[in-house]
């Protein structure tokens, strides 16, 4: 039985479809409690970034501070939008809004309280950053954050708007 399943699993992998590049059908809330279906995320035909982070994740906070410093410039130059998906669980859900506002971040924050989106997008360890083109197709992803990593992301964004 198990062998059959593994074989099927592999056949899906090798004979099957293209790798996922579309947004998965998952519904999340934003900081105002509004529900948002991820398949409907868009940025008026311009590229957008989706970052997975948590309030307790130091590298994530560094990445978002770095992105926050240059977000206005990026928006002026490319019109890119950043959706910051928090994978904090109910330990810190009510603290996210004062945290984000207190840091002065201007991203669109989404709450993935039980990691539904993280699971659907195969995010194992935060931070994990995805770039989508204007049609909502994923074109680039990167896990982890080091000082200066935002520059490669920006090069990828520039490729999409040129």
């Amino acid at each position: 039985m198990k062998k059959t399943l593994v074989l099927l699993f592999l056949s899906v992998l090798f004979l099957g479809a293209k790798a996922q590049s579309d947004l998965p059908n998952v519904t999340l809330k934003n900081l105002d409690g509004e529900t948002i279906n991820i398949t409907e995320l868009q940025n008026d035909g311009k590229p957008f970034v989706m970052t997975f982070w948590a309030t307790w994740c130091g590298p994530c906070v560094k990445e978002h501070n770095a992105l926050s410093e240059i977000y206005q410039d990026w928006q002026d130059e490319t019109g890119v939008k950043i959706f910051a998906v928090s994978i904090d669980d109910s330990r810190s859900t009510p603290r996210i809004k004062p945290f984000v506002e207190g840091k002065g971040w201007e991203f669109d924050v989404l709450l993935d309280v039980n990691k539904d989106l993280a699971r659907a997008m195969n995010v194992s360890n935060p931070p994990h950053t995805f770039l989508f083109d204007g049609n909502g197709k994923m074109v680039y992803q990167h896990t982890g954050y080091f000082e200066g990593a935002e520059e490669e992301l920006y090069e990828e964004i520039l490729k999409l708007v040129e």
Binding site: L5, L8, F9, G16, K18, Q20, C57, G102, G104, H142
Partner: protein, 578 residues
């Protein structure tokens, strides 16, 4: 069981046939953590813990397949043998998780292993934390119905996963069933959207059924739990509250007491750009809820009561991290986030970010119902077979379990240097939190500095320095006084830690670190935990090789945070997704 597998196999066959259809998509991920062990008795890696096997391995691979409204997935896991620090019941391999679901926006049906949460999870939460070896997925069925904008109704039932243990009959493991409803008023009443007012209300009911096999007590076979919640917002203010009530549910965990359980959490926050403040209060009384009344530790937890204190991820404060006491606690938390604007005297050229946080947890007040001659217990819920105790709702118990005051500053010093500094004051009742009767309380001060220097636009170097001052230290506690209680002193005394990391963004990193418990009252415990790591990251693939000695806990190196077990030797970790 077999039938479910067969039908799933059929679904996979069918989907394979459809795979040529242009819209079908596949994604997945894969992770493998391997460890080559050296016996290192000083840090608890004995030939007993590694059971003669020199290599530990935790791995998983998962595939999700989607075609329009249809999604299916499967996850294979292998623990051969589980890494040290993980529950030994994980030993084994096989298909641990599978599901198929259809969602057309109005109705969604999922069959197989389900992860979901009602509200904060007070009466229902199934989730998976790979890094901790935790998975309580509900194997069964779920229907979600969205009859109108803003209204979500859910119903589900099934049995929960416990490692690789057979699901068994209704005596071995209970059936869990639940319903949940949530209504976002702003989506139903257009006029509300012209005001600053926002409101969401929700409620749930969860029940478990388990056949009673206990010969001493009449254990209720059906246990119900109710939950109600309200989220209100007005402009920059937000108020959320949730209350849960569980009927009598005697279990091994609560020493077979028959009183009802309750939990309440309320949060009030205010935020505007550059400033956010939040206050939270929580009361938990006898809220352990498991689908097996004989369950211990985290086995078969149906619910999740969130701790509300600050989550530390730096290695020294993470030594003493708090976990919710489901049998009873009164907790509060206050957090302020503030950005001192740039180009001000205090804020400096780039601005300064400040976070201050205070949290405190006490026991609830209990008036014990005791058997003749029985003394009041300090931790468990009282005399088994009775209500156990009565507890006035608003009274705070005398015993303090935990407090944490911390303040963090984050500032860019100039174009090249960035600084994060944190001071933490901790109070940690090891007796209660780690269940070590008689262990002395930890009163510690911790200082943390993270300094990064940008060499070029892509290369940087980061220094991390930490020190922990413990109230019990080699200077004031003799080794003789620890005799007979060695396990309580394993990590006590002062610690110093340092880390240097060199990164070439976004692909490479090298780091070396040492952590030294130099103040341990027991000379044999004054250990160094030194590690060296090198890692390569390309897109979603991450490969890290680590050598040295690792103490267990959260580790944030190489740009991500993960929980790691104690180990000595070499480890290789590979993570990828597609």
């Amino acid at each position: 069981m077999r039938r479910i597998l067969l039908s799933l196999a059929f679904v996979f066959c069918a989907t394979t046939l459809f795979a040529q259809i242009e819209n079908s998509q596949v994604n997945g991920s894969f992770q493998i953590d391997g460890q080559y062990y050296k016996v290192d008795e000083a840090i608890g890696i004995t030939s007993e813990t590694i059971k003669g096997q020199k290599v530990g391995l935790n791995g998983f691979g998962k595939i999700n397949y989607s075609l329009g409204n249809f999604t299916a997935g499967i996850r294979y896991e292998a623990f051969q043998t589980p890494l040290s620090g993980f529950d030994t019941r994980l030993q084994g391999f096989g298909i641990a998780n599978y599901y198929a679901s259809y969602d057309n926006g109005t109705v969604a049906v999922t069959l197989g292993d389900i992860y979901d949460q009602f509200g904060n999870g007070f009466i229902f939460r199934t989730y998976e934390e790979w890094a901790l070896g935790f998975d309580n997925a509900l194997r069964g069925m779920r229907v979600i119905y969205r009859p109108a904008a803003g209204v979500t109704l859910k119903a589900l039932f099934g049995k929960q996963r416990l490692y690789w243990v057979e699901y068994g009959d209704a005596a071995k493991r209970g059936v869990v069933r639940g319903i949940d409803g949530e209504w976002d008023l702003n989506q139903s009443f257009e006029t509300l959207n012209n005001t600053k007012f926002r409101a969401t209300v929700g409620g749930s009911f969860v029940s478990k059924y388990q056949k009673n096999t206990n010969t001493t007590y009449t254990i209720p076979e059906n246990v119900g739990a109710f939950d109600g919640r309200v989220n209100l917002g007005y402009g920059r203010f937000a108020f959320t509250t949730e209350y849960a009530y569980k009927i009598n549910d005697p279990s091994a965990f609560n020493n077979y007491t028959f009183n009802a359980g309750q939990a309440i959490l309320a949060s009030l926050s205010y935020s505007q750009k550059g400033f956010g403040v939040i206050a939270q209060v929580k009361r938990v009384d006898n809220m352990s809820f498991k689908s097996d009344y004989k369950g211990v530790k985290n086995d078969l937890d149906i619910n999740f009561i969130p701790p509300i204190n600050y989550t530390h991820t730096h290695s020294l404060p993470a030594i003493y991290s708090y976990a919710t006491q489901p049998l009873g606690e009164m907790a509060m938390q206050l957090q302020v986030n503030y950005t001192i604007p740039k180009n001000t005297i205090i804020g400096g050229k780039y601005g300064t970010k400040i976070t201050a946080d205070f949290s405190m947890v006490n026991d609830i007040k209990r008036n014990y119902i005791l058997a003749e001659g029985q003394e009041a217990p300090t931790h468990i819920a009282g005399n088994s077979g009775t209500l156990g105790y009565t507890s006035p709702f608003f009274a705070v118990g005398d015993r303090k379990f935990f407090h944490d005051f911390n303040i963090e500053l984050e500032r860019r010093l100039n174009k090249k240097w960035k600084l994060i500094a944190q001071y933490i004051n901790l109070y940690y009742d090891m007796d209660i939190i780690e269940n070590h009767p008689g262990a002395p309380v930890v009163k510690a001060n911790i200082a943390f500095v993270d300094l990064s220097y940008r060499i070029t636009s892509k290369q940087s170097v980061r220094f991390e320095l930490q020190h922990l001052w413990d109230n019990i230290n080699k200077g004031n506690t003799t080794e003789e006084s620890t005799f007979g209680h060695e396990d309580v002193y394993k990590k006590r005394g002062n610690w110093a830690a340092a880390l240097v990391e060199y990164t070439i963004a976004p692909k490479w990193f090298v780091s070396v670190a040492d952590k030294y418990n130099y103040g341990n009252p027991i000379a044999g415990n004054r250990d160094h935990y030194y590690t060296a790591s090198v890692g390569y990251i390309k897109e979603s693939t991450r490969i890290v090789l680590t050598g040295g000695r690792q103490s267990e806990g959260m580790v944030c190196v190489g740009g991500v945070c993960r929980v790691v077990p104690a180990s000595s030797g070499f480890s290789l970790s590979i993570t990828t997704s597609f």
